[in-house]
Amino acid sequence: MTGEPLLAATGVTRLYGDHIGCIDIDLAVWPGEVVAIVGESGSGKTTLLKCLAARLPPSSGTITYRSRDGAAEDIYRLSEAARRALMRTDWGFVWQDAAEGLRMTVSAGANVGERLMATGARHYGRIRSAAVDWLERVEIDARRIDDDPRSFSGGMRQRLQIARNLVTGPRLVFMDEPTGGLDVSVQARLLDLLGTLVRELGLAAILVTHDLAVARLLSDRIVVMKEGRIVETGLTDRVLDDPSHPYSQLLVSSVLQA
Protein backbone atom coordinates (compact mmCIF):
# COMPACT_ATOMS: atom_id res chain seq x y z
CA MET A 1 0.00 0.00 0.00
CA THR A 2 1.43 3.40 -0.89
CA GLY A 3 0.81 6.87 0.48
CA GLU A 4 -0.80 7.76 3.77
CA PRO A 5 -3.84 5.98 5.20
CA LEU A 6 -7.15 7.84 5.25
CA LEU A 7 -8.17 6.46 8.62
CA ALA A 8 -5.80 4.80 11.06
CA ALA A 9 -6.60 3.15 14.38
CA THR A 10 -3.79 2.44 16.83
CA GLY A 11 -4.23 0.28 19.91
CA VAL A 12 -7.98 0.87 20.05
CA THR A 13 -9.64 -0.83 23.01
CA ARG A 14 -13.21 -0.44 24.08
CA LEU A 15 -14.47 -2.05 27.26
CA TYR A 16 -17.99 -2.10 28.63
CA GLY A 17 -17.22 -2.32 32.34
CA ASP A 18 -15.64 -5.76 32.67
CA HIS A 19 -16.95 -6.84 29.30
CA ILE A 20 -14.81 -6.67 26.23
CA GLY A 21 -15.94 -4.74 23.19
CA CYS A 22 -12.75 -4.79 21.20
CA ILE A 23 -9.10 -5.01 22.28
CA ASP A 24 -5.91 -3.50 20.95
CA ILE A 25 -7.03 -2.99 17.37
CA ASP A 26 -4.60 -1.64 14.80
CA LEU A 27 -6.28 -0.96 11.49
CA ALA A 28 -5.69 1.38 8.59
CA VAL A 29 -7.82 2.20 5.58
CA TRP A 30 -6.34 3.77 2.47
CA PRO A 31 -8.21 6.07 0.04
CA GLY A 32 -10.44 4.11 -2.31
CA GLU A 33 -10.12 0.87 -0.38
CA VAL A 34 -12.98 -1.26 0.91
CA VAL A 35 -12.25 -3.13 4.12
CA ALA A 36 -14.67 -5.73 5.46
CA ILE A 37 -14.75 -6.57 9.15
CA VAL A 38 -16.12 -10.08 9.54
CA GLY A 39 -16.69 -12.34 12.50
CA GLU A 40 -19.49 -13.94 14.46
CA SER A 41 -22.05 -12.10 16.56
CA GLY A 42 -20.47 -10.58 19.66
CA SER A 43 -16.98 -10.54 18.19
CA GLY A 44 -16.75 -6.74 18.53
CA LYS A 45 -17.32 -5.80 14.88
CA THR A 46 -19.95 -3.18 15.52
CA THR A 47 -18.15 -1.78 18.59
CA LEU A 48 -15.07 -1.28 16.46
CA LEU A 49 -17.09 0.32 13.66
CA LYS A 50 -18.69 2.78 16.08
CA CYS A 51 -15.27 3.66 17.53
CA LEU A 52 -13.89 4.26 14.05
CA ALA A 53 -16.92 6.33 13.03
CA ALA A 54 -16.56 8.75 15.96
CA ARG A 55 -19.76 7.49 17.54
CA LEU A 56 -18.26 5.70 20.54
CA PRO A 57 -15.08 6.96 22.25
CA PRO A 58 -12.61 4.11 22.79
CA SER A 59 -11.39 3.34 26.32
CA SER A 60 -7.84 3.71 25.03
CA GLY A 61 -6.02 4.09 21.73
CA THR A 62 -6.25 6.72 19.02
CA ILE A 63 -8.00 7.05 15.68
CA THR A 64 -6.71 9.56 13.17
CA TYR A 65 -8.36 10.77 9.99
CA ARG A 66 -6.55 12.50 7.15
CA SER A 67 -8.71 15.41 5.99
CA ARG A 68 -8.74 16.84 2.47
CA ASP A 69 -6.01 19.32 3.36
CA GLY A 70 -3.72 16.41 4.23
CA ALA A 71 -3.55 16.87 7.99
CA ALA A 72 -4.07 13.74 10.10
CA GLU A 73 -6.11 14.52 13.19
CA ASP A 74 -7.29 12.52 16.16
CA ILE A 75 -11.06 12.38 15.58
CA TYR A 76 -11.84 12.39 19.29
CA ARG A 77 -9.76 15.54 19.81
CA LEU A 78 -11.59 17.54 17.16
CA SER A 79 -14.09 20.08 18.43
CA GLU A 80 -17.63 18.78 18.42
CA ALA A 81 -18.52 21.22 15.62
CA ALA A 82 -15.63 19.99 13.46
CA ARG A 83 -16.44 16.33 14.15
CA ARG A 84 -20.09 16.78 13.25
CA ALA A 85 -19.14 18.71 10.12
CA LEU A 86 -16.87 15.81 9.15
CA MET A 87 -19.68 13.32 9.72
CA ARG A 88 -22.10 15.13 7.44
CA THR A 89 -19.70 16.01 4.62
CA ASP A 90 -16.67 13.74 4.32
CA TRP A 91 -18.21 10.63 5.90
CA GLY A 92 -21.29 8.55 5.43
CA PHE A 93 -22.92 5.97 7.65
CA VAL A 94 -25.24 3.30 6.31
CA TRP A 95 -27.22 1.55 9.05
CA GLN A 96 -28.57 -1.95 9.01
CA ASP A 97 -31.93 -0.55 10.05
CA ALA A 98 -32.78 2.16 7.52
CA ALA A 99 -35.10 3.81 10.05
CA GLU A 100 -32.02 4.84 12.04
CA GLY A 101 -30.35 6.48 9.09
CA LEU A 102 -33.39 8.10 7.47
CA ARG A 103 -35.94 10.65 8.53
CA MET A 104 -39.00 8.46 8.13
CA THR A 105 -41.53 11.32 8.31
CA VAL A 106 -40.14 13.52 5.54
CA SER A 107 -40.09 12.82 1.81
CA ALA A 108 -37.35 10.94 -0.01
CA GLY A 109 -36.26 14.18 -1.68
CA ALA A 110 -35.83 15.91 1.67
CA ASN A 111 -33.91 12.91 2.99
CA VAL A 112 -31.44 13.20 0.15
CA GLY A 113 -31.36 17.00 0.33
CA GLU A 114 -30.86 17.28 4.08
CA ARG A 115 -27.07 17.05 3.98
CA LEU A 116 -26.94 19.64 1.22
CA MET A 117 -29.12 22.01 3.23
CA ALA A 118 -27.02 21.30 6.33
CA THR A 119 -23.95 22.38 4.42
CA GLY A 120 -25.47 25.61 3.18
CA ALA A 121 -27.45 24.84 0.01
CA ARG A 122 -30.27 27.40 -0.16
CA HIS A 123 -31.59 26.92 -3.70
CA TYR A 124 -34.66 24.70 -3.78
CA GLY A 125 -34.42 23.89 -7.50
CA ARG A 126 -30.81 22.78 -7.28
CA ILE A 127 -31.42 20.71 -4.13
CA ARG A 128 -34.31 19.02 -5.86
CA SER A 129 -32.42 18.25 -9.03
CA ALA A 130 -29.56 16.80 -6.95
CA ALA A 131 -32.15 14.63 -5.19
CA VAL A 132 -33.63 13.45 -8.50
CA ASP A 133 -30.16 12.69 -9.81
CA TRP A 134 -29.25 10.63 -6.76
CA LEU A 135 -32.54 8.75 -6.64
CA GLU A 136 -31.91 7.69 -10.22
CA ARG A 137 -28.36 6.66 -9.45
CA VAL A 138 -29.60 4.34 -6.71
CA GLU A 139 -32.35 3.06 -9.02
CA ILE A 140 -35.32 4.62 -7.25
CA ASP A 141 -38.02 5.94 -9.57
CA ALA A 142 -37.74 9.74 -9.46
CA ARG A 143 -41.54 9.94 -9.32
CA ARG A 144 -41.27 8.66 -5.74
CA ILE A 145 -39.35 11.80 -4.71
CA ASP A 146 -42.22 13.24 -2.68
CA ASP A 147 -43.18 9.97 -0.98
CA ASP A 148 -41.88 9.36 2.49
CA PRO A 149 -39.70 6.32 3.18
CA ARG A 150 -42.37 4.59 5.24
CA SER A 151 -43.99 3.67 1.93
CA PHE A 152 -40.70 2.21 0.61
CA SER A 153 -39.69 -1.46 0.63
CA GLY A 154 -36.68 -2.57 2.66
CA GLY A 155 -34.38 -2.58 -0.34
CA MET A 156 -35.54 0.87 -1.46
CA ARG A 157 -34.99 2.25 2.01
CA GLN A 158 -31.41 0.97 1.98
CA ARG A 159 -30.82 2.51 -1.43
CA LEU A 160 -32.33 5.80 -0.24
CA GLN A 161 -30.01 5.72 2.74
CA ILE A 162 -27.07 5.29 0.42
CA ALA A 163 -28.19 8.22 -1.77
CA ARG A 164 -28.64 10.40 1.31
CA ASN A 165 -25.08 9.65 2.40
CA LEU A 166 -23.38 10.00 -0.95
CA VAL A 167 -24.97 13.30 -2.00
CA THR A 168 -22.20 15.36 -0.37
CA GLY A 169 -19.48 13.33 -2.07
CA PRO A 170 -17.96 11.70 1.03
CA ARG A 171 -14.56 10.03 0.99
CA LEU A 172 -15.26 7.38 3.58
CA VAL A 173 -18.44 5.41 4.20
CA PHE A 174 -19.13 3.19 7.18
CA MET A 175 -21.62 0.38 6.64
CA ASP A 176 -23.08 -1.81 9.34
CA GLU A 177 -24.62 -4.95 7.79
CA PRO A 178 -26.09 -2.95 4.87
CA THR A 179 -27.75 -6.04 3.40
CA GLY A 180 -29.04 -7.48 6.67
CA GLY A 181 -32.71 -8.37 6.68
CA LEU A 182 -33.12 -8.20 2.91
CA ASP A 183 -34.07 -11.18 0.78
CA VAL A 184 -31.36 -12.61 -1.46
CA SER A 185 -32.39 -11.12 -4.79
CA VAL A 186 -32.73 -7.65 -3.24
CA GLN A 187 -29.37 -8.20 -1.54
CA ALA A 188 -27.75 -9.05 -4.83
CA ARG A 189 -29.10 -5.91 -6.48
CA LEU A 190 -27.99 -3.74 -3.56
CA LEU A 191 -24.52 -5.27 -3.55
CA ASP A 192 -24.22 -4.72 -7.27
CA LEU A 193 -25.21 -1.08 -6.81
CA LEU A 194 -22.87 -0.57 -3.86
CA GLY A 195 -20.00 -2.15 -5.73
CA THR A 196 -20.59 0.09 -8.75
CA LEU A 197 -20.87 3.27 -6.69
CA VAL A 198 -17.83 2.51 -4.58
CA ARG A 199 -15.67 1.92 -7.68
CA GLU A 200 -17.14 4.83 -9.63
CA LEU A 201 -16.67 7.35 -6.85
CA GLY A 202 -13.39 5.92 -5.55
CA LEU A 203 -14.87 5.71 -2.05
CA ALA A 204 -13.12 4.18 0.87
CA ALA A 205 -15.48 2.04 2.91
CA ILE A 206 -15.45 0.08 6.12
CA LEU A 207 -18.05 -2.64 6.00
CA VAL A 208 -19.19 -4.74 8.91
CA THR A 209 -20.81 -8.02 7.94
CA HIS A 210 -21.16 -11.58 9.08
CA ASP A 211 -21.92 -12.61 5.52
CA LEU A 212 -18.73 -13.70 3.78
CA ALA A 213 -20.37 -13.49 0.36
CA VAL A 214 -20.95 -9.76 0.91
CA ALA A 215 -17.32 -9.36 1.92
CA ARG A 216 -16.17 -11.30 -1.13
CA LEU A 217 -18.20 -9.13 -3.50
CA LEU A 218 -17.43 -5.72 -2.08
CA SER A 219 -14.18 -5.69 -0.20
CA ASP A 220 -10.51 -5.49 -1.15
CA ARG A 221 -9.31 -6.52 2.26
CA ILE A 222 -10.77 -8.56 5.11
CA VAL A 223 -10.26 -8.28 8.84
CA VAL A 224 -11.41 -11.32 10.84
CA MET A 225 -12.41 -10.65 14.43
CA LYS A 226 -12.94 -13.04 17.30
CA GLU A 227 -13.64 -12.18 20.93
CA GLY A 228 -12.73 -8.54 20.42
CA ARG A 229 -9.40 -9.12 18.68
CA ILE A 230 -8.26 -9.19 15.07
CA VAL A 231 -7.13 -12.74 14.38
CA GLU A 232 -6.38 -12.44 10.71
CA THR A 233 -6.17 -9.77 8.08
CA GLY A 234 -5.34 -9.91 4.40
CA LEU A 235 -6.57 -9.51 0.84
CA THR A 236 -10.13 -10.74 0.54
CA ASP A 237 -9.50 -13.54 -1.91
CA ARG A 238 -6.46 -14.76 0.01
CA VAL A 239 -8.28 -14.86 3.35
CA LEU A 240 -11.36 -16.54 1.92
CA ASP A 241 -9.53 -19.04 -0.28
CA ASP A 242 -6.61 -19.76 1.99
CA PRO A 243 -7.42 -18.82 5.58
CA SER A 244 -4.46 -19.23 7.93
CA HIS A 245 -5.96 -18.77 11.40
CA PRO A 246 -7.98 -21.73 12.71
CA TYR A 247 -10.95 -19.49 13.43
CA SER A 248 -10.93 -18.06 9.87
CA GLN A 249 -10.75 -21.61 8.56
CA LEU A 250 -13.76 -22.51 10.64
CA LEU A 251 -15.63 -19.41 9.48
CA VAL A 252 -14.92 -20.07 5.79
CA SER A 253 -15.72 -23.78 6.05
CA SER A 254 -19.07 -23.13 7.77
CA VAL A 255 -20.44 -21.41 4.66
CA LEU A 256 -22.32 -23.64 2.27
CA GLN A 257 -20.67 -23.57 -1.12
CA ALA A 258 -23.35 -22.64 -3.60
Binding site: E80, R84, S107, G109, E114, A118, I145
Partner: protein
Protein backbone atom coordinates in the same frame (compact mmCIF):
# COMPACT_ATOMS: atom_id res chain seq x y z
CA UNK B 1 -38.76 50.54 41.47
CA UNK B 2 -40.78 51.53 44.52
CA UNK B 3 -43.02 49.24 46.51
CA UNK B 4 -46.39 50.67 45.65
CA UNK B 5 -48.21 48.37 48.05
CA UNK B 6 -51.42 48.22 46.16
CA UNK B 7 -54.57 47.04 47.85
CA UNK B 8 -55.85 44.35 45.54
CA UNK B 9 -59.45 44.75 46.70
CA UNK B 10 -59.22 42.61 49.81
CA UNK B 11 -57.80 44.53 52.74
CA UNK B 12 -55.78 41.54 53.98
CA UNK B 13 -53.94 40.97 50.66
CA UNK B 14 -51.32 43.46 49.66
CA UNK B 15 -49.54 42.76 46.39
CA UNK B 16 -46.08 44.06 45.64
CA UNK B 17 -45.96 46.49 42.70
CA UNK B 18 -46.87 44.48 39.58
CA UNK B 19 -47.60 41.34 41.62
CA UNK B 20 -44.13 39.71 41.58
CA UNK B 21 -41.74 40.33 44.49
CA UNK B 22 -38.66 42.44 43.82
CA UNK B 23 -36.18 39.54 43.96
CA UNK B 24 -38.13 37.61 41.34
CA UNK B 25 -38.32 40.64 39.10
CA UNK B 26 -34.59 41.15 39.52
CA UNK B 27 -33.87 37.56 38.46
CA UNK B 28 -36.13 37.93 35.43
CA UNK B 29 -34.44 41.22 34.51
CA UNK B 30 -31.10 39.44 34.60
CA UNK B 31 -32.46 36.87 32.16
CA UNK B 32 -33.78 39.70 29.97
CA UNK B 33 -30.40 41.46 29.98
CA UNK B 34 -28.71 38.26 28.91
CA UNK B 35 -31.32 37.74 26.20
CA UNK B 36 -30.74 41.27 24.89
CA UNK B 37 -27.00 40.69 24.90
CA UNK B 38 -27.38 37.51 22.79
CA UNK B 39 -30.17 38.32 20.33
CA UNK B 40 -32.40 35.35 19.58
CA UNK B 41 -30.83 33.07 22.19
CA UNK B 42 -33.26 31.37 24.57
CA UNK B 43 -32.33 32.17 28.16
CA UNK B 44 -33.76 29.82 30.82
CA UNK B 45 -35.41 31.58 33.74
CA UNK B 46 -37.18 30.57 36.94
CA UNK B 47 -40.74 31.00 35.74
CA UNK B 48 -43.18 31.54 38.60
CA UNK B 49 -46.70 30.38 39.21
CA UNK B 50 -48.96 33.22 38.14
CA UNK B 51 -52.62 33.69 39.05
CA UNK B 52 -53.61 32.43 35.60
CA UNK B 53 -53.01 29.15 33.80
CA UNK B 54 -50.03 28.40 31.59
CA UNK B 55 -51.05 29.15 28.05
CA UNK B 56 -52.71 32.40 29.04
CA UNK B 57 -49.60 34.49 28.71
CA UNK B 58 -47.78 33.80 31.97
CA UNK B 59 -44.40 34.29 30.28
CA UNK B 60 -45.39 37.63 28.81
CA UNK B 61 -46.95 38.72 32.10
CA UNK B 62 -43.76 37.97 34.04
CA UNK B 63 -41.65 39.87 31.52
CA UNK B 64 -44.05 42.81 31.58
CA UNK B 65 -44.11 42.80 35.41
CA UNK B 66 -40.31 42.90 35.45
CA UNK B 67 -39.90 45.84 33.09
CA UNK B 68 -42.93 47.82 34.25
CA UNK B 69 -42.39 51.12 36.12
CA UNK B 70 -44.97 53.39 37.79
CA UNK B 71 -44.87 55.84 34.87
CA UNK B 72 -45.40 53.26 32.15
CA UNK B 73 -48.51 53.14 30.01
CA UNK B 74 -49.55 49.60 29.16
CA UNK B 75 -51.42 48.28 26.13
CA UNK B 76 -52.35 44.61 25.85
CA UNK B 77 -53.53 42.98 22.62
CA UNK B 78 -54.74 39.50 21.84
CA UNK B 79 -54.74 38.64 18.10
CA UNK B 80 -54.53 42.38 17.48
CA UNK B 81 -57.61 43.20 19.52
CA UNK B 82 -57.70 45.24 22.74
CA UNK B 83 -61.13 44.01 23.76
CA UNK B 84 -60.77 40.21 23.89
CA UNK B 85 -60.71 38.20 27.12
CA UNK B 86 -56.97 37.69 27.37
CA UNK B 87 -56.20 41.34 26.67
CA UNK B 88 -58.83 42.70 29.05
CA UNK B 89 -57.81 40.32 31.82
CA UNK B 90 -54.10 41.12 31.64
CA UNK B 91 -54.70 44.85 31.35
CA UNK B 92 -56.95 44.65 34.41
CA UNK B 93 -54.37 42.56 36.24
CA UNK B 94 -51.68 45.23 35.93
CA UNK B 95 -54.08 48.09 36.56
CA UNK B 96 -54.96 46.43 39.87
CA UNK B 97 -51.56 45.11 40.97
CA UNK B 98 -49.43 48.04 39.75
CA UNK B 99 -51.89 50.90 39.53
CA UNK B 100 -50.38 51.97 36.21
CA UNK B 101 -52.13 53.71 33.35
CA UNK B 102 -53.44 51.60 30.50
CA UNK B 103 -54.35 52.48 26.95
CA UNK B 104 -55.58 50.91 23.76
CA UNK B 105 -53.64 53.38 21.59
CA UNK B 106 -50.41 51.99 20.17
CA UNK B 107 -48.77 55.42 20.00
CA UNK B 108 -49.50 56.22 23.65
CA UNK B 109 -48.20 52.94 25.09
CA UNK B 110 -44.69 52.54 26.46
CA UNK B 111 -45.11 48.78 26.90
CA UNK B 112 -47.29 46.63 24.65
CA UNK B 113 -47.89 43.03 25.64
CA UNK B 114 -49.08 41.02 22.68
CA UNK B 115 -50.44 37.65 21.83
CA UNK B 116 -49.96 36.73 18.15
CA UNK B 117 -49.76 40.15 16.47
CA UNK B 118 -47.53 43.18 15.99
CA UNK B 119 -49.52 46.44 15.81
CA UNK B 120 -50.01 47.98 12.37
CA UNK B 121 -48.73 51.36 13.52
CA UNK B 122 -44.92 51.40 13.36
CA UNK B 123 -43.34 51.20 16.79
CA UNK B 124 -40.90 53.86 17.91
CA UNK B 125 -37.71 53.92 19.92
CA UNK B 126 -38.34 53.58 23.64
CA UNK B 127 -41.33 51.29 23.29
CA UNK B 128 -41.14 47.68 24.47
CA UNK B 129 -43.11 44.94 22.74
CA UNK B 130 -43.62 41.87 24.98
CA UNK B 131 -44.66 38.67 23.19
CA UNK B 132 -46.47 35.78 24.83
CA UNK B 133 -44.78 32.59 23.60
CA UNK B 134 -46.27 29.09 23.79
CA UNK B 135 -43.34 27.13 22.29
CA UNK B 136 -40.03 28.99 22.13
CA UNK B 137 -38.08 26.27 20.32
CA UNK B 138 -38.22 26.60 16.51
CA UNK B 139 -36.76 23.10 16.15
CA UNK B 140 -39.23 21.45 18.51
CA UNK B 141 -41.37 19.56 16.02
CA UNK B 142 -38.34 18.57 13.99
CA UNK B 143 -36.15 17.35 16.84
CA UNK B 144 -37.87 16.23 20.04
CA UNK B 145 -34.79 16.10 22.31
CA UNK B 146 -34.08 19.34 24.16
CA UNK B 147 -30.41 18.35 24.63
CA UNK B 148 -30.11 17.95 20.89
CA UNK B 149 -31.89 21.20 19.96
CA UNK B 150 -29.58 23.13 22.29
CA UNK B 151 -26.59 21.51 20.62
CA UNK B 152 -27.95 22.40 17.17
CA UNK B 153 -28.32 26.04 18.24
CA UNK B 154 -24.87 26.07 19.81
CA UNK B 155 -23.22 24.61 16.72
CA UNK B 156 -25.26 26.73 14.33
CA UNK B 157 -26.68 23.62 12.62
CA UNK B 158 -29.95 24.73 11.12
CA UNK B 159 -30.23 22.40 8.12
CA UNK B 160 -33.31 20.80 9.68
CA UNK B 161 -35.36 23.99 9.40
CA UNK B 162 -34.66 24.06 5.70
CA UNK B 163 -35.82 20.45 5.48
CA UNK B 164 -39.15 21.72 6.81
CA UNK B 165 -39.30 24.49 4.19
CA UNK B 166 -38.29 21.99 1.48
CA UNK B 167 -41.15 19.71 2.52
CA UNK B 168 -43.61 22.60 2.34
CA UNK B 169 -42.56 23.50 -1.20
CA UNK B 170 -42.48 19.85 -2.32
CA UNK B 171 -45.98 19.21 -0.96
CA UNK B 172 -47.73 22.54 -1.58
CA UNK B 173 -45.65 24.29 -4.22
CA UNK B 174 -44.88 27.12 -1.82
CA UNK B 175 -43.88 27.55 1.82
CA UNK B 176 -47.15 26.76 3.56
CA UNK B 177 -46.04 27.88 7.02
CA UNK B 178 -48.14 30.95 7.74
CA UNK B 179 -47.49 31.69 11.41
CA UNK B 180 -44.62 31.14 13.84
CA UNK B 181 -42.44 31.44 10.76
CA UNK B 182 -38.79 31.00 11.84
CA UNK B 183 -36.43 33.95 11.61
CA UNK B 184 -32.66 34.38 11.75
CA UNK B 185 -31.75 37.05 14.31
CA UNK B 186 -28.60 39.15 13.86
CA UNK B 187 -27.20 36.48 11.53
CA UNK B 188 -26.71 33.92 14.29
CA UNK B 189 -29.63 32.36 16.19
CA UNK B 190 -32.81 31.08 14.63
CA UNK B 191 -35.84 32.09 16.63
CA UNK B 192 -39.53 31.29 16.80
CA UNK B 193 -41.23 34.70 16.60
CA UNK B 194 -44.23 33.27 18.56
CA UNK B 195 -47.39 32.51 16.56
CA UNK B 196 -47.62 35.89 14.85
CA UNK B 197 -48.74 35.68 11.21
CA UNK B 198 -45.75 35.75 8.87
CA UNK B 199 -47.34 38.98 7.63
CA UNK B 200 -45.81 40.59 10.74
CA UNK B 201 -42.31 39.13 10.34
CA UNK B 202 -40.91 42.05 8.31
CA UNK B 203 -41.94 44.44 11.10
CA UNK B 204 -39.41 42.78 13.42
CA UNK B 205 -36.49 43.64 11.15
CA UNK B 206 -34.55 46.71 12.35
CA UNK B 207 -37.44 47.72 14.59
CA UNK B 208 -36.64 50.75 16.76
CA UNK B 209 -38.56 49.13 19.65
CA UNK B 210 -37.16 46.54 22.06
CA UNK B 211 -38.83 43.15 21.52
CA UNK B 212 -38.96 40.71 24.45
CA UNK B 213 -40.35 37.18 24.34
CA UNK B 214 -41.55 35.28 27.41
CA UNK B 215 -42.51 31.59 27.52
CA UNK B 216 -43.87 30.83 31.00
CA UNK B 217 -44.51 27.12 30.77
CA UNK B 218 -41.29 26.45 28.85
CA UNK B 219 -39.34 28.84 31.12
CA UNK B 220 -37.49 30.71 28.42
CA UNK B 221 -36.91 34.39 27.66
CA UNK B 222 -35.43 35.72 24.45
CA UNK B 223 -35.12 39.12 22.86
CA UNK B 224 -34.52 41.18 19.76
CA UNK B 225 -32.79 44.45 20.68
CA UNK B 226 -33.70 47.63 18.78
CA UNK B 227 -32.31 47.96 15.25
CA UNK B 228 -31.40 44.28 14.92
CA UNK B 229 -31.62 42.52 11.55
CA UNK B 230 -34.30 39.83 11.56
CA UNK B 231 -34.55 37.73 8.40
CA UNK B 232 -37.25 35.19 7.60
CA UNK B 233 -35.82 31.90 6.32
CA UNK B 234 -36.30 31.13 2.65
CA UNK B 235 -34.74 29.58 -0.43
CA UNK B 236 -33.03 31.69 -3.10
CA UNK B 237 -35.58 30.55 -5.69
CA UNK B 238 -38.55 30.69 -3.28
CA UNK B 239 -38.11 34.02 -1.51
CA UNK B 240 -40.06 34.83 1.64
CA UNK B 241 -43.48 36.38 0.96
CA UNK B 242 -46.20 37.62 3.25
CA UNK B 243 -49.91 37.02 2.94
CA UNK B 244 -51.78 39.31 0.56
CA UNK B 245 -55.41 40.35 0.81
CA UNK B 246 -57.46 41.24 -2.23
CA UNK B 247 -60.09 43.23 -0.34
CA UNK B 248 -59.64 46.20 1.97
CA UNK B 249 -60.92 46.19 5.57
CA UNK B 250 -64.72 46.09 5.49
CA UNK B 251 -64.97 48.62 8.31
CA UNK B 252 -62.27 51.22 7.74
CA UNK B 253 -61.16 50.50 4.17
CA UNK B 254 -57.49 50.01 5.04
CA UNK B 255 -55.30 48.11 2.63
CA UNK B 256 -51.94 46.51 3.36
CA UNK B 257 -52.99 45.48 6.85
CA UNK B 258 -53.67 42.05 8.32
CA UNK B 259 -57.34 41.11 8.11
CA UNK B 260 -59.55 38.72 10.08
CA UNK B 261 -62.36 36.89 8.36
CA UNK B 262 -65.63 37.19 10.28
CA UNK B 263 -68.62 35.00 9.47
CA UNK B 264 -71.71 37.19 9.60
CA UNK B 265 -74.59 34.78 9.09
CA UNK B 266 -75.35 31.22 8.02
CA UNK B 267 -75.88 32.16 4.37
CA UNK B 268 -72.21 32.67 3.50
CA UNK B 269 -71.98 36.31 4.53
CA UNK B 270 -68.41 37.25 5.40
CA UNK B 271 -66.59 40.36 6.45
CA UNK B 272 -62.87 41.00 6.29
CA UNK B 273 -61.84 43.46 8.96
CA UNK B 274 -58.63 44.74 10.53
CA UNK B 275 -57.20 42.39 13.13
CA UNK B 276 -55.67 45.46 14.83
CA UNK B 277 -58.74 47.05 16.44
CA UNK B 278 -56.91 50.20 17.51
CA UNK B 279 -55.71 50.83 13.98
CA UNK B 280 -59.20 50.25 12.60
CA UNK B 281 -60.81 52.63 15.09
CA UNK B 282 -58.17 55.27 14.51
CA UNK B 283 -58.68 55.15 10.75
CA UNK B 284 -62.45 55.29 11.13
CA UNK B 285 -62.22 58.23 13.47
CA UNK B 286 -60.00 59.90 10.90
CA UNK B 287 -57.50 60.65 13.59
CA UNK B 288 -53.69 60.71 13.28
CA UNK B 289 -52.95 57.30 11.89
CA UNK B 290 -52.47 57.18 8.14
CA UNK B 291 -55.11 55.33 6.16
CA UNK B 292 -52.47 53.12 4.62
CA UNK B 293 -50.02 51.41 6.94
CA UNK B 294 -46.56 51.74 5.53
CA UNK B 295 -45.92 47.98 5.38
Amino acid sequence: MSEAGFDGGTAAIRYNFAYLDEQTKRSIRRAILKAVAIPGYQVPFASREMPMPFGWGTGGVQVTASVLGPDDVLKVIDQGADDTTNAVAIRGFFARTAGIATTTRTAEATIIQTRHRIPEEPLRAGQILVYQVPIPEPLRFLEPRETETRRLHALNEYGLLYVKLYEDIAKHGHVATTYAYPVLVAGRYIMDPSPIPKFDNPKMDMSPALQLFGAGRERRIYAVPPYTPVRSLDFEDHPFRVQEFTEPCGLCGSRGVYLDEVVLDDRGGRLFMCSDTDHCEAVRAGKGAAAEASW
